[in-house]
Structures are given as C-alpha cells and as structure tokens.
Amino acid sequence: MTITNGRRSGAATGPADPVAIDQWYAITALDEIPIGRTVRTELLGVPMSYCRDHDGSPLAWLTQDSLPAGAPVDARTLHAPLPTLADYGYLWTTVGEPDGGLFDIPETAEPDRRILNAGTFGIFTSGPRAVENFLDMGHLPFVHPGVLGQQPFTEIVDYQVEYRSSEIYAVNCLIFQPKAAAASTSGQMVNYTFRVPHPLCALLYKSTPEDDVRLDVIGLFVHPIDDGRVRAHLFNCLLDTVNTDGQLRRFQQGVLAQDKPILENQVPRQLPLDPDAEAPTRADKTSNAYRRWLSDLGMTYGVVARSNS
C-alpha cells in the first residue's frame, strides 16, 4: 500500500508513525453516512473517502480522482477498499495494519442502554490534546460552570491511576457537579472512572441518577484529520429513560462547545510529552499517565516527542 502525504508511502519513506497508523479510527457515525455516495475526508493527513453500500455496510477507500465528493459508488468496482468495522455505531477504518480488532465496551451489550453518537465536532487541535481534555477533571468548574463543575468547589482530591492489561484506568475521581447528566435534577458529588484503551479513544464511567449500581458510559473517539485537526465523536451509552435523543445531543453539544475554544487556544496544538514542557500538578495524574503511556508506545503523531537529552 502506498499512502501519500508523507505519512506513509510504502518503500519511499517508510511509516512516519506506525503506532498512529496501525490503529482503527472512528470516522463517522454509521447512521450519518449517505448510501452509495462518496464523502471525502482525511485520516492522518491521508485523503480518504467513505460511504455505505446499498445493503448498509460501510465502505472506505483511499481517495481516487474518479470519485469526487458526492459521486455514486459501486462496491463491486471499488478498487482496493480499506478495511472497515461497524462497531458502537461508528464506521471504523485504518490506513495501516492494526493488531486485532477494537477494544471491548461490555456495557454496549446491555439491552436497556441508549447508544448514540451525541455529536461530532471539528476542532483545530491534535488528537492527544483532545483526549487529554476529556480525561481532565480540574477544568470542569471553569470550562463547564454550572454543569459539570462549580466554583469554588474546585479541589481535585487524590485518586488512583492504574494500568490494567495495557490500558490506563483512573479510579475514584470525585468532583462536585451541579448538573452531572441531562437527567440530573440537583448537584451531587460524582465519582468518575476514566479508561484509555486506545491512543485516541477514551471512556468515562460515571454514576447516573437512574441506577444505583450501573454506570453511564461516555466515550470520546477521535478521528485525526491531521496532526492539528480532529473530528471528535462523543459516544453515549447511557441509562436514561427521561431524555430524547435530541436532548442528550443538546447536553453533550453544549459541553463540547465550551471545550472547543479552549482547545483551539492551546499552543502548541500537539501534546508535549516531555515532562518539563508543561507544569503538571497532582490533579493531573491521569494526563501524566496518558503522556507517559503515549511516550512508551512510541507515538509521535500529534505530539511533541520527548527529547532524549
């Protein structure tokens, strides 16, 4: 396979970042893909296209001049399609050779779960910056005041970060939230668990007003257009019998609209992996672990790699 744009071009330059290339990425929500019509985008700087076949199955391919945006697609004649998955409501594809399938989200098998793409947002930032923001609790009272946090209750009490089968977990993350979910009617101390199973995907588990035991699952699946632009998908897998899809979407979109201007004002757009590049505190344990994990994976795309000095 030859991929242009310098990221991977077979024998010519070799893979720029095999860690980033050999991953599945959620490109778009399945139910938002037109049937039999080309949609163009980019993945890791590589022009690619996708559509759904007439039987509803997703198709993806490296962009071809013969198929401009909107052009009709016939799956039988499509040359060299990219591998695809249809999981958790999204079209996943890759421009590399992933080692196996996707990470598991067991909650998606529960019959009473509401599963939907609550929104896809174009953001001028890198994938790792977007994921780190999703893992960050300290910003909630400032960026989402009155919803996911409230001043002056800004303290981040100590929590635990663990590695479980090469994923990151942050557990016992407590924060006071005035309106933790669309179904909330009052403020509460909310207990979060964060999980990072993929360099550009993160999940959070939080208590829900509707169930004493089971947890709401919210995911951020990042589609890296290049190393400074993403489309961020907000995945919902909720226990919510109150709200319509529209209300759930409005809630999540309100939240992401508050994050977007912050992310777009971070410099550099790429996430610095050098521990001295930015000033972390104890509250940033999860993001420290995430940066170290990316560094250990050898990820170089969308980050400022550690200097070896």
Binding site: M137, G138, H139, P141, F142, V143, Q151, P152, F153, T154, E155, I156, P261, I262, N265, Q266, V267, P268, P272, E278, A279, P280, T281, R282, A283
Partner: protein
C-alpha cells in the same frame, strides 16, 4: 556600521491606549507571542502568551486588575512577577515559586509600550518627539520583513504633509535602527512623524507612527485620513515587493525573558533577602506600618496568611504577617504593634527602624494557608491579629468569594490599614471596645450556624484564639475547618527532660539534654533544619515522627493533630518518654 542585534533593543509592542482596563492585548515581537496587560496599579505586564500549566494562550485569560486568570483551570498569575498565585485544584497548597510565566521588560514612551531588549536597553529618545505632546497614529501590520518596511518608509513619506507655502519641503531620515523620521517644513514651521517599526518576526512587522505635537481638532481628522490612506498604499507596495508569503524566519536571537532570582532552599534560620524600608507610617494607635522593597530583583511570591522573619538591627528575629492583597508584589507590607512589654522586637521596629534603612528577611513562610474553595469563610481578627486576615480578605474579595472579616479592636483609632479596610466594606464587620465576655458572645453569634464547606480563620491574642476554638467546637465546627495562628506561645516551656533521638534515615542517635532544644541538638548533629519563630508558633521546624511518645509544647497543632503524634515542632516540643524516632 554593523547593525545592532534586534534582540538587544527595546521595540514597541502596543500603543498605551490599546491597553484598555481589564483587557489583555496580543502582540508578537521577534517571534515571541506576548500577552500585554495593564494592572489596576498601572503597571504594564508583558508576558509570554502561554499558560505554563497546559499551554492555553493568556490572551484569552481574564485580567482581574491584579492577576491574570487562565480560563482552563483557573490558575492565577500575579501582576509584575508572573508568579502562579493559585491553583484551584489544590485549594490549600501554595504553588511552588518556580511556577511563573516568563515576563519581559515593559517601558512606556511616546505613547507606546516597549519591550524586549537587554536589561540595560532604553527606549529610543528622539529629538523629533521631545518636549511636546505626541499623537499616536494608526498602527499597521505589514506582511513584509522589517528591513523592507524601513526602506519603504524612507522612499514613501506617509505623513506629515507640508503646509502649502514657499519652500515647502519634506525629508525622510533614518532615526535609529528601527525608525524613520519624516519632517515637513514650510517657511518657519516644521512637523515631524516618527515611524517605529516593530519586528514581529523575520517576515512581518508593524509600523507604529507617532506625531509630534497634538494637532488642533479641526486638522486632526484630515491628518488621520491622509495617514491611513498613505500607510495603506505603502503596505500594498511593501507586500507586493515582498512577493509571495515570506517564509517566517525566526529572529537571530530569541527574546530573552527577565531573569528572576530563583527561591533558595530554606536553610537554617539565616536571612535570605535584603530589603529597604520604602515607607513607614503610623497606621493606627500604637501600630506602625512598613513597606519593604527589594534592594535588587523581585520579592519571592507568597500566599495569604504568610509571614516573614525580620532580622532586626538589635539581633532579634521576629515574625510579621504580610498584609498584601493580590497583585501587590513590589513591596511586602506589614504592621507592627508596639507591645508595652516588648522584649525589644516591636520597640526596635517602632523606634530604631526608619525609612531608607536596610533590613534582612527570610523568604515568606506560610503556616496559616487560606483555602479558596469554601462556600463561606469567616475571618476573626483580634487587634494586630488582623494582618494575615487582611491578605485573606483582599484575596477573597478579589475572587468574589463569600467572606466576613470580623475585626475586634478597642476603638476606631485602633483599626489598622484603613485604606485597605475601606474597599472591603461589604465583608467587614467592626466590633469595637468589647470586654472579653462581650467578645465571646459576639463570636458565638458569628459562629452559631455552621454549614458544610465553611471555614473559620482566627488570629489575635492567645485567650481570644482559645475562646474562639472552644466556641466553634461547641457550635459544631469540625476541627479541620478552624484555622488559627498565634503570635506567641504564652505557655510555660519545660525543657528539663533528657531523651534519646534516633534519625531513621541517617541512622544517627543523639541525646538531648536538659535545657537544650531538640532543634539545637539536631543542628549540632549536622541536620539542616529550617526554623522561624523558635517558640512553637509558626510550624516551620516540623519533623515527622515514626515512633515514640511526644510532649507537645507548641501552639501550632490542633488537638487531633497532637493526638495523632506523627509530627513534632522541634523548637519547643520534646519526647514524652525516653526515646523518639524521627524521619530525618
């Protein structure tokens, strides 16, 4: 002549009039992005445009008049110093002093803000602009290298226009490495405009023209119109001759931030700072106020509740709380009450220390930290005990957090720092001329309704602190919500015992004999212990205890901390039994 290094010169980065109160202006100089803002004390800050925590541009931060507040995690950075003043995720922690935004020089001249440069550099002084008012004309960013713009300005006079008449002439002259002066003469009259060129980076600049003299209102509009037209024309010419988008070259030397002395590690009890008494005044009956300015460099940052050790000319060392509110970083302001039974400390400060004198200080220590995540904060001050609480009240007021400052004093004449109290009016409650019993009754009223996320801070005479702690406990305040700081340890110290101390890390064993403090024994054994008050008040000389009964003689710990028995103040406290083991 070799061209001077642009990095060694000061350059304009903004017009003074651009710095609207409570705003932050974006600028760029020699490849460095800058956030420029004016504080309420009129100081102009020129900082790197990046929060050191997570890289958010500070040009999107809020300017509250004393601090910039990053919108991402609420980190606060102080006027002048750029020090991080508060990290809201850790409401009871003092941010390390190394956390600060890189800051750059700022000077005002000819209506412009100047920055960059070596520490000795001065903004240019030009005869064309001296001795008269100046009018800052419209500045224009140009996508062309600075040298091209300078060349263009010599060839294309934008402004002024000579008045019609005999011998009208116009001349363009270089006025330094980054300025072109245009002079128009008619007969005996002469007008001048100096065009300063701000080198943004290798491929871009901003032309900032300044006109000598303020033209009459009727001419002003036509001058501005003509100027705008000419400058636009010049920009078009420059950008077309600069060709396709110029590759942005970095500056030859990167902009050097101001270097600040890094805080030294606390060591022993030696003074670390030299200051000068910039101002001394009587702020209330029997209370002298002092403003202490650094002899060189910048004062170390501190948090509300902090104190410094003052090394007095007579050899004594005394602790005084800092009263500074947010943003006052150029001096330490403290208040000293003349104690009638002074052992020489307060008398020396009142009688022997004068404006202009030099004093030695420790760096600020804070053993009375303020949490800023309370729903309600109650500050109770007795007399001179108001000093640390003034710093707290100003901080809470600035952050619009709910607080009350209850100030108990003999009379109006005994209220210190009236100029600070005045703007606190909403949170300030004065309690004047009360007896101890009446004071206790008032404190009962103040503390009767404890609610969650409430915190109480008390500072004043020992008996008042004791009474407040007891009353608050009766009203249901948990111990960890009641914070106190004594001035002195009034209890009688017992040092007749003798005991053994083992140091777990070094393996040493020492014997502390009668009449000798644990602190002194540790120092004799070569342990570098910090200390401040040396009477069990301030908590600086604390050590962690691994084993052994303790005989606490301090007034620093609360009852449950004492009962825990895991920490000791080495200056006054001793082993309760024969032996203790310390984590040293």
């Amino acid at each position: 002549m070799t061209a001077p290094d642009p990095g060694s010169l000061l350059h304009p980065v903004a017009g003074c009039a651009d710095l609207v109160p409570r705003h932050v202006v974006k600028a760029r100089l020699l490849g460095q992005d800058l956030a420029v803002w004016r504080a309420d004390d009129d100081f102009v800050n020129v900082w790197a445009d990046r929060c050191i925590h997570r890289g958010v541009r500070l040009t999107v931060a809020a300017n509250d008049g004393a601090e910039l507040v990053c919108p991402y995690h609420g980190w606060r950075y102080s006027n002048r110093s750029g020090n991080c003043a508060y990290m809201p995720a850790h409401p009871s922690d003092a941010p390390p002093r190394r956390l600060r935004v890189p800051t750059f020089r700022s000077e005002e001249r000819y209506g412009l803000i100047w920055s960059g440069g070596s520490p000795e550099a001065e903004p240019p002084r030009l005869p064309h602009l001296e001795g008269e008012d100046t009018l800052v004309l419209r500045a224009l960013p140009v996508n062309a290298p600075p040298d091209l713009a300078l060349q263009g300005l010599l060839e294309w006079p934008c402004q002024p226009v000579p008045a019609p008449g005999d011998g009208a002439s116009i001349s363009c002259d270089s006025a330094g490495p980054f300025a072109v002066a245009v002079t128009a003469r008619t007969g005996g009259t002469e007008e001048a405009v100096v065009h300063f060129v701000q080198p943004v980076d290798g491929g871009r600049c901003v032309i900032r023209p300044v006109m000598r003299g303020a033209p009459a209102a009727d001419r002003r509009l036509s001058i501005l119109r003509h100027h705008a037209r000419q400058l636009e024309e010049l920009r078009t010419r420059l950008e077309s001759s600069a060709g396709s988008p110029v590759a942005v070259r970095g500056p030859s030397t990167p902009l050097q931030p101001l270097r600040r002395p890094t805080a030294t590690a606390v060591s022993g009890r030696a003074p670390q700072l030299e200051v000068c008494v910039a101002r001394k005044w009587l702020t209330a009956e029997g209370i002298a106020a002092f403003e202490l300015a650094p002899v060189s460099g910048q004062l170390p940052s501190f948090q509300p509740g902090a104190h410094v050790d003052v090394h007095l000319p007579n050899g004594l060392v005394r602790q005084y709380s800092l009263t500074n509110g947010p943003g006052l970083t150029s001096v330490y302001r403290l208040g000293v009450k003349l104690e009638p039974d002074s052992r020489g400390g307060s008398r020396c400060m009142h009688v022997s220390v004068h404006e202009g004198d030099r004093l030695q200080l420790s760096e600020p220590h804070n053993n009375f930290p303020l949490r800023r995540d309370a729903a309600r904060t109650v500050l109770i001050a007795g007399g001179i005990g108001v000093t640390p609480l003034l710093a707290m009240a100003q901080t809470l007021q600035r952050q619009e957090l709910a607080y009350e400052l209850h100030y108990f004093a003999q009379s109006d004449d005994h209220l210190a720092f009236g100029e600070v109290l005045e703007p606190l009016s909403t949170g300030l409650v004065k309690h004047l001329g009360l007896s101890p019993d009446q004071t206790a009754d008032e404190i009962k009223k103040i503390t009767h309704d404890y609610g969650t996320a409430s915190h109480l801070y008390v500072c004043g005479p020992g008996p008042m602190i004791e009474a407040t702690r007891a009353i608050a406990a009766d009203s249901g305040w948990p111990e960890d919500a009641v914070h106190f700081e004594y001035f002195k340890n009034e209890s009688e110290l017992h040092d007749a015992s003798s005991f053994e101390v083992r140091l777990a890390r070094t393996g040493q064993t020492l014997v502390v004999g009668p009449g000798v403090s644990l602190l002194d024994s540790l120092r004799d054994a070569g342990v570098d212990m910090p200390s401040s008050c040396e009477q069990g008040v301030c908590g600086t000389c604390m050590a962690t205890v691994l084993e052994g009964e303790l005989d606490h003689q301090d007034v620093f710990f609360n009852d449950s901390e004492r009962a825990a028995g895991d920490r000791i103040l080495t200056c006054v406290s001793r082993a309760g039994g024969h032996k203790i083991v310390l984590d040293l």
